[in-house]
């Protein structure tokens, strides 16, 4: 464990082939998954595999850091932002730029081939493992280097991190420039523009659900956009239940017809057909 062999053991080989495939699959999923969340998760998987590889390469400290910092912190940050921003139309894998995909594929392929060819004909024969380098312990060795040879770079990274933090705060923090408008002012404004004088309707009204992502239905059964929050609309996470509601209504009517016998039922049924109530929603359901 402390003295890692120059040439890797067969056990490592097995590990490499299994985990390597996992890593590649994870990477591919990262770029192919439709939803950002899935991409993030698969990337996290790849990173964990990489962490294992670090360990296998004798970089114990880095392996841990990889898991803690990357998979732990950074990927979580990603997930937060994904949640914050949500899934947008941008997630559709449909290409908009002409020829972009082909270019990407071709270039990627070519580039990869080039790299691999480069590594291939590079004369990487002799391996002096990290045995003596890690003799005093990997972390100690790194520390010795960081605080002697790379101390300036190290300090700079510190400064960089602080700057980044501040920058992130500045960027995301929204300063309220103007005074918050009082209720009176807002109502006056509403009256003035006269579009929507009353408060917006609550979700779920006239529907059987009352979750926030379900729009209320108008008298004719169509969903009302006003009742759901813009963000949800933005993400297209609105569940439209109007169709189901109409179906329920039909079932109800049929049952009531059975309930009240035929003669009048037929007439009423036909008459029911005439009745605008159920008729109108059909069109609503069409859209």
């Amino acid at each position: 464990m402390t003295a890692l062999a120059a040439a890797a053991s067969s056990g490592e080989a097995v590990q490499f082939w299994i985990l390597g495939i996992v890593a590649v699959v994870g990477a591919l999923c990262t770029i192919l998954m439709k939803r950002a969340v899935h991409s993030a998760l698969s990337l996290a998987g790849t990173m964990i595999v990489l962490a294992v590889f670090y360990l296998a390469n004798g970089a114990y400290f880095l392996g841990i850091v990889q898991i803690v910092v990357y998979t732990g912190a950074i990927m979580m940050l990603f997930l937060f932002v994904v949640m914050l921003v949500g899934v947008t139309a941008a997630d559709s894998l449909k290409e908009t730029l002409k020829g972009q995909r082909w270019l990407a594929a071709g270039l990627g392929l070519g580039f990869g081939i080039l790299l691999i060819a480069g590594i291939g004909n590079a004369s990487l024969k002799q391996f002096n493992g990290l045995g003596d380098a890690n003799a005093g312990g990997n972390v100690q060795g790194l520390a010795a280097l960081i605080f002697t040879k790379y101390v300036f770079a190290f300090e700079l990274t510190g400064a960089l991190l602080i700057t980044a933090v501040v920058g992130a705060m500045v960027l995301t923090h929204r300063e309220r420039t103007e005074r918050a408008r009082t209720q009176r002012e807002r109502s006056q404004a509403r009256i003035r523009e006269g579009k929507q004088v009353t408060p917006l309707p609550a979700p779920g009204v006239y529907a059987r659900h009352n979750a926030v992502d379900i729009p209320g239905l108008l008298p004719d059964g169509t969903p009302s956009e006003l009742t759901v929050s813009p963000t949800l609309r933005e993400r297209g996470q609105v569940r439209d239940v109007s169709g189901q509601a109409l179906a329920d209504l039909k079932a109800l009517e049929r049952r009531s017809q059975e309930w009240l016998g035929r003669g009048s039922g037929s007439g009423s049924g036909s008459g029911g057909a005439e009745r605008p109530g159920p008729a109108a929603p059909k069109e609503g359901a069409q859209k």
Binding site: Q100, L107, F111, N121
Partner: protein, 648 residues
Amino acid sequence: MENLIALLVAAPLVGAALLLCGGTRLDRAGHWIGSLLAVASFAVGVVLFAGMLGRDAGHRALHQHLFSWIPVGGFRADVAFQLDQLSMTFVLLITGVGSLIHIYSIGYMEHDARRRRFFGYLNLFLAAMLLLVLADNYVLLYVGWEGVGLASYLLIGFWQHKPSAATAAKKAFLVNRVGDMGLSIAIMLMFTTFGTFAFGPVLAATGQTSEGKLTAIGLMLLLAACGKSAQVPLQSWLGDAMEGPTPVSALIHAATMVTAGVYLITRSGALFNAAPDAQTAVVAVGAVTLLFGAIVGCAKDDIKKALAGSTMSQIGYMVLAAGLGPVGYAFAIMHLVTHGFFKAGLFLGAGSVMHGMNDEVDMRRYGGLRKYMPVTFVTFGLGYLAIIGFPGLSGFFSKDKIIEAAFARGGTEGWILGGTALLGAAITAFYMTRVMLMTFFGEERWRNAPTPSPDRPSAEPAAETRGEYAPPHPHESPKVMTVPMIVLAVGSVFAGGLFSIGDAFVGWLEPVTSFSHGHSPVSAGVVTAATMVVLVIGVGLAWLMYGRRPVPATAPRGSLLTRAARRDLLQDDFNHVVLVRGGEHLTRTLVYLDHSLVDGAVNGTAAAMGGLSGRLRRLQTGFVRSYAVQMLGGAAVLVAATLLMRGV
């Protein structure tokens, strides 16, 4: 003594400077200042002449070196004067006639608002002309040469509000410039050949170089002479030059400036003597012009233009004589001087006639004027007799000698030239008689001639400035005008005789022009007799045509030759069609080409650049991902490059 030479030039120069820069405050005294300085210059000339007579022939030439003008490398042009017998002759002629004409102009230009300026220009001309004849090297001569050109430009165009005058002035200057081109090329040739262009060394060294070079120089000098002396083919400007005030025509375009060419050829005599081919060219030009001018003179109804034609023809005589070499130089100059007298007299007479006739110039509206302006009639008549070579008068002596010299050239050439000269004499007699008859004899056609009016302005707008449009009432001119005419008449009567007493004139000039007696195949007596005969024929013919029958008030259509002669033998039309039109087309096409071709190429490049960058701009889609593609492509290229480098 020699320090006076500069004074000759300085006096009129100062006058010009004063009058032209002096401004209106000199308007009242301007003409007096001008005349005074001209006379002063004449006085200096006389003093120098006396001094020169005081010395023996060998040491008569004077030199005055003022300062070194353009010293660059081997090229050393100095402002230095040389006053020898030849220059002396010209100095006296120029200043003498010049002074007379100044005085005459006082009366003639009396009513012109810009008289001060006129006298300024006259003085400028005197200075330039004196510089021309006094210079001791060709470059300084060139300065005077162009100076007189400028003065003549200013004076021809003196009435600039007349477009015809302005055009005539421009034409004169341009044609002269062509001649000047010849002179400057000649100077360059001299410099490259001799390394100098001062008269002394150049003329001394003519023996040491190839004849071809000398011929080239000679031809170039001839070109210059043609331009200045209105010889074929550069004669076209002289007729139009009559647009200028009559005194100008008398002084510049009859007596002095137009004879500068003769001076140039005579001055370069040694050079021409060494280049026979050049001399032949000179002779040919002289002979052709002699006839050309005479023929033109026969057809003109404008009195001044008729006289201009005669001037041309007389200068033709002089050039012919100068071309004959040592045989003729002296006679050329002699004829030049006598011609200066009688032609100036004739012009002044014409001016006086016009003065009395509301500046009418058309001889067909004259007639029977002898009893209205006797003095003019007499002086003009004497000039007339002199020019046709009436025995005993100036013209007789000078022209006769030239004809003899022409015969003396010997061989068929001699016969041709002599014949031409004789023919010229006949024609001269004809057209001068014509002028005389149409002006002073016959019935008074002016009585029922249309009077000039604002819508039909007369030739010399002095009338407009005077504001008289009354029908002409011929009257004698004031004393200030008649006196100079009388003096010139006297000159034109006696000068010739004076000069040829014991060949005084020839002897006087010999040290400069090296005289040699040509042996003529026909004796002098025969020549004289022949001259007399052709003279009588010419006069008689003229009398038959214009004396016997009345002269129609409007010109008849006339024969083909007449019509051609009226149009200066179609010379102008030729120039117009070939040079003017051609030039216009050339410049127009060039302007077009400059814009479309030369500039078009440049703008085309610019446009191409713009188009290219427009295309390239398409790459900047603004989509981050397309940039990323390009980045990746670049990276790939880099990797590939490094690999290949390693591979190599």
